[in-house]
Structures are given as C-alpha cells and as structure tokens.
C-alpha cells in the first residue's frame, strides 16, 4: 500500500470546547489508484487530508491517535524536518480555490520554480526552465511568456492547472486534491478533472480526491469512502456504491443528485443538519437524520460491517441495518 491511514483521531481544542473532527478514520490508497472521499462540510474529510499532509493548524488542531503509514513509514512519528522533505516532494496537495491558494505577489513561475530550488537545490535558471516545462505539461498556452504573469492574470481554470503543475512538479507518489474543481465553471471542471486523471495514470500516482460532488466521482474514482461526523460510514468500489449503497447516508447523498428522469419532481434532500462536532449524538451519529433508525441506533455505535461486494474488493458499511439498506432499493 502506498498510503494507509489507521484509526486516525483529530480534535480541535477551542474556547467553546473540544470538537472531535476525525474519530477513527481508516483508509488506504495504492499507487495508480483513486480514492474519492465524500462527505458534507464538517465531515472531517479535509481535516484527515491535512493530518496526512502534516499541515494541520495546531493549535487548535491535534492528532490524538492513529497512524499514517506512507510507503511503509509512520509519518506521525517523524520529526518536522523529515516530514517537510516529504511534503511537496513525495506527497503533494491541490487546494480548492487556486486564486487564494497561490501567492498573489509572486509570479506563477517563481512559485513553481521554488519547488525545484528548495527540494532539489537547482539554480534559479534551471528551475525556471522546469517551471515552463511544467506549465506546458498542464497545457497552458504560451507557457514561456506566461511564466512571468501573476495569479490574478489567469482564468480560474488556468490557475487550477498551475496548482496541479505545482503539485506535480517533483512527481510525487501521492496527490491529495481537496475539492479541486469546486471553484470552477462546470465546463472547466470536466477539463481539469480529465487532466488530473490523465496525469495520474501517466505517473501512476495515488490520488485522494476529496469532494462533495458525486457527479465528479463516478468517472474517475476506483473506490469511494463516505465520511460523516468524522467517521467513515461506507467504503466500497465505486460501481458497488452507485448500484446499491449499503448505508442510508450514502443513499441520501445519491438520491439528492438531480436526475433528468426525475424532472418536475421535488429534489430529495437529507433532512436535518450535520451534527455539532462538540456534541456528536450517541450511537450512530447519523441516527437523528436517518429514515431507518431503530432504538439500537441511538445506543450502539455501529462497527464497520463487511459487505459482500459484486466487484470483489473490500466493502464496509457502518450501519446496523446495512442488509436492509442494500436490498431495499425501491
């Protein structure tokens, strides 16, 4: 396995109390594989990614347990200097809003070249040449001229390409993309996703795609992990999930996608709000919003049940009634 997160716990200590953002998350990605991590805002999907990258805001954030095994090494036991050398070089991250994620006062060329100067000790001139190559690689027209431009002079799609180029610079083994297309126009979204998928195949990188957009996931992901209140509630190969979800929350997400054959009918929405992370409900965190909830859901935290998948591969669901959910496809 390229990356294996095991039983990760992260909490935020704030003035109002302790927010349990990640409560025992485990997932794994192999080289060349794409794992989509799905969930609403506050489900802990970004915080998990930040903990893996080692860029958690701490304080207030704190990793209180678990392991992050990357190429066989537990990153959480490394010192900051060692982790820094891994960041950007062996694992890289793409952020949501490239306009704010790029430094507004430095040229894109300088920001790309910096990777080679810092991690590879290249001269400024060589690093700049590599920056132009990278921009060509992500298909930015007239890269040799545009390398001197500032982020605000690019369109949204081009800026996100620059973010991708920056993450790709040192050919990392793992890329974490945190909602890479959310800030883009729909037409541009597809182009950027295609580019990312193409580069991933070419370099055989592991990709963790964090998103709340189920439409993006279907085409590119191999596996899906659905998160709710800091836990993984369902994890399965992508086709299994779309065919028959084994968790009522996943089903709710799927049912809230607008579909052409449902035209004219009111769009389904999961009732209620995601839980307050300072007071996660006892039992299954989803029980107050769940249409299938029974008494046991309000008392017992469901373990990850193994579900037999159609396509082989591991499939788990954190629902006491996963069987009913799986077969009740009405």
């Amino acid at each position: 396995m390229l990356l294996e997160v095991r039983d990760l716990h992260v909490e935020f200590r704030t003035r109002d109390g302790i927010a349990k953002a990640v409560n025992g998350v485990s997932y794994a990605v192999d080289a060349g594989e794409t794992l989509a991590v799905l969930g609403e805002s506050g489900s802990g999907k970004s915080v998990t990614a930040q903990a893996v990258m080692g860029i958690l805001d701490s304080p207030p954030g704190r990793i209180t347990g678990g392991e992050v095994l990357f190429q066989g090494q537990d990153l959480l036991t490394l010192r900051e200097g060692e982790r820094r050398r891994i960041r950007g070089a062996r694992m890289a991250m793409i952020f949501q809003d490239a306009l704010s994620a790029l430094n507004p006062v430095l040229t894109v060329g300088a920001q790309l070249a910096e990777m080679f100067v810092v991690h590879r000790g290249m001269s400024a001139k060589d690093a700049r040449a590599r920056a132009v190559e990278l921009m060509d690689r992500v298909r930015i027209p007239a890269a040799a001229q545009r390398v001197r431009d500032y982020p605000h002079q690019f369109s949204g799609g081009m800026r996100q390409r620059i973010m991708i180029a920056m993450a790709l610079a040192l050919e990392p083994a793992l890329i974490i993309a945190d909602e890479p297309t959310t800030a883009l126009d729909v037409t541009v979204q597809a182009q950027v996703m295609d580019l990312l998928a193409e580069l991933q195949r070419e370099y055989r990188m592991g990709l963790i795609l964090i998103t709340h957009d189920l439409g993006v996931v279907a085409d590119v992901a191999d596996r899906i992990a659905v998160m709710y209140a800091g836990r993984i509630v369902e994890s399965a190969p992508v086709h299994d999930i779309y065919k028959a979800p084994a968790h009522p929350y996943t089903r709710g997400l799927l049912d809230s996608i607008p579909r052409l054959d449902q035209k004219g009918r009111q769009l389904y929405a999961i009732k209620g709000l995601p839980p307050n992370l300072m007071a996660i409900p006892p039992g299954c965190a989803f029980n107050p919003r769940c249409p299938m909830a029974q008494d046991v859901c309000r008392t017992d935290v469901p373990p990850l049940y193994e579900v037999a998948g159609d396509h082989g591969g591991e499939r788990v669901s954190a629902c006491h009634f996963w069987r009913e959910c799986l077969h009740d496809r009405s």
Binding site: I55, R84, R85, G88, S100, P104, V105, V118
Partner: protein, 307 residues
C-alpha cells in the same frame, strides 16, 4: 505607469498651491511682522512704512503671494528680518532634521517590524500580550513626557548621553532623540505589522507554501512577510513627512537646531518668510513621499495596476 505618474504630478499642483496659500494667509493674520522688529519700543511710523515698502508688505496679499511663489520657483525663499537668507537657514536646519528622521524611520522599520512579526506569529502568548501593553502605553503617553523622561534618566541621572545635542548633530547623538521622535509611530507600526501577519498567517497561500514543503523561514520571509508588509510600507512612507514636520517637540527637548526649531523660532518672532519657506518645503516633502508610497505600492502588489 508613466501616465499615472504624470497624472499624480499634475494633481500635486493644486494641493501645493492650496497648502502654501493657506499658510501664507494664516501667517498674514498672525500679526504685524514689523512690530516685532523694533523690540520693546513702538516702531517709528516712518521707519515702519519704509520697512513695509522694502519687504513688499504694503502691497495686496495676493500680489505678495504671487511674487513669493515666483521667487520660490527660482530657488529664492526670501530673506528673514534679521537679514539672513531663508535658504541659508534651510541649509543648516534640513540636514539635521533629515538625519533625525532617518534615525526615527530606521527605528520604525527595524524595531517596529521585528516586534510586529514576533507578536503576530505568537498571538495570544505572553510576548504578544506584553508588547501589546507596551505599545498602548507608548501611544497614550505624549511625546514630550517620554522625551523629557528619557532625557532626565539617560542624560542627567545616569549620564549615558549628553542631555542636549551639539549643533553638528551627528548620527550618534541623535539615537535617543530619534527613538523619542519615532516612539508613537513605532508602536503603530508594531500593531499594524502584528495584525497583518496574524491575518495573513491563516491565509490559503501560506498553507500552500507549507504544503509545498518549504522551510519555515522561507514561508515566513518570502510568502508571509512580503504580503503582510504592504500596509506597513504605506504607513511608514506617509510618516516621513509627518516626522519631519512633527519634530518640533523632540527638537525643543533635545535642543536640536533643525526644522522644528527654526519653525518654532520663526513663529515666536513672527518671521513670516522663515515660516512660509519651511512649511512650503515640508508640503513638498509630504507630497513627494506620498507619491513614492503609491508607486512602491504598485511594485509590492502586482494586483494594483495603474491605468
């Protein structure tokens, strides 16, 4: 950019004329300048009239102003009533005040920015609270109190410095007066830098820089500081003019014969030519400093494009 500079230079003309006219009129209503010339006694009417004619004071104010401005553009700032040329006074006073301002600005840049960065990075920690409290004290205590206190302690009680500065006013002698002159602005620079750093520290591009695996010092200097200093540079730039004109109190305390001292003397003795001349130059300094700040702003922040 070139067109922007030209436009800004043209905009300076009405400001310059307005400011100088205002000071010219104010000095004019200050009282009869001739009355001061004859000392304690009342002036002999014939002598007074002759002097008035000599200095052009019998002509209408607008004519006086026009003549004066015409002379200023040929480098002639007139003659003080004691017969000394105003340009001569300026030649001795401005270098002293410029040295004092340089010392003060250096304090603002070095001490202010360093304290601001340190506190901004450690917001809420003891260092931060202490410095914040100190800046509040400095801001709320008037300059003449800090000045006199430092002069008394360092100059008289402990004898570390000479309580009054020699007429040469070398850089070494101006360290303590420079600190006094800078004190309030220094506190503001610290607070401004602190807020700016603390705000930008949480920004997405700093997180990106960390995620790129850059060493901490590089994240701070190249990414965080560069962005955070934009408002600070603006403040310090506009402060140059304020410091040069506002040195009156500091120069009085430490007996520095600079611009503030000459202005003060000029006002006391109703020396119209001196006051108007010095203020005219200060207005120019202000305008040029502001223009430079605006241009520097464009250099620091490429998002600002001047059409």
């Amino acid at each position: 950019m070139g067109r922007y500079v030209v436009r800004r230079l043209l905009q300076m003309i009405p400001v310059f004329v307005g400011a100088t006219l205002l000071i010219f009129l104010m000095v004019n209503v200050m009282g009869d300048p001739i009355a001061g010339l004859c000392g304690e006694r009342r002036c002999d009417p014939a002598t007074a009239a002759q002097l008035r004619h000599e200095f052009g004071l019998d002509r209408p104010v607008w004519q006086q102003y026009a003549t004066y401005m015409g002379n200023v553009f040929t480098g002639d700032f007139g003659t003080a009533f004691n017969g000394q040329r105003v340009t001569e006074l300026m030649a001795t006073a401005f270098p002293v005040t410029i040295r004092l301002t340089v010392v003060a600005i250096l304090f603002e840049i070095v001490v202010g920015i360093v304290l601001g960065v340190v506190t901004g990075l450690r917001r809420g920690r003891p260092v931060d609270t202490t410095v914040l409290l100190l800046t509040l004290v400095v801001i709320s205590v008037p300059t003449f109190v800090t000045g006199l206190l430092l002069q008394l302690l360092l100059g008289v009680t402990w004898g570390w410095i000479r309580p009054s500065v020699s007429p040469q006013a070398a850089f070494g002698e101006l360290i303590v007066p420079g600190l006094v002159l800078a004190s309030v602005s220094l506190a503001y620079v610290t607070r401004l830098t602190r807020t700016s750093i603390a705000e930008n520290k949480r920004s997405d591009y700093v997180r990106t820089a960390v995620a790129k695996g850059l060493p901490r010092h590089r994240v701070i200097t190249r990414h965080l500081l560069r962005n955070s200093l934009i408002p600070v540079v603006t403040f310090i730039g506009t402060d140059i003019g304020a410091l040069m004109g506002g040195a009156i109190v500091t120069e009085r305390i430490f007996n520095i014969h600079g611009v503030g001292y000459q202005l003060y003397q000029g006002i006391l003795r109703q020396n119209t030519q001196t006051v108007v001349g010095f203020v005219t130059v200060l207005v120019l300094v202000f305008l040029i400093a502001n223009l430079l700040v605006d241009l520097l702003y464009a250099v620091l922040d490429p998002r600002i494009r001047y059409a």
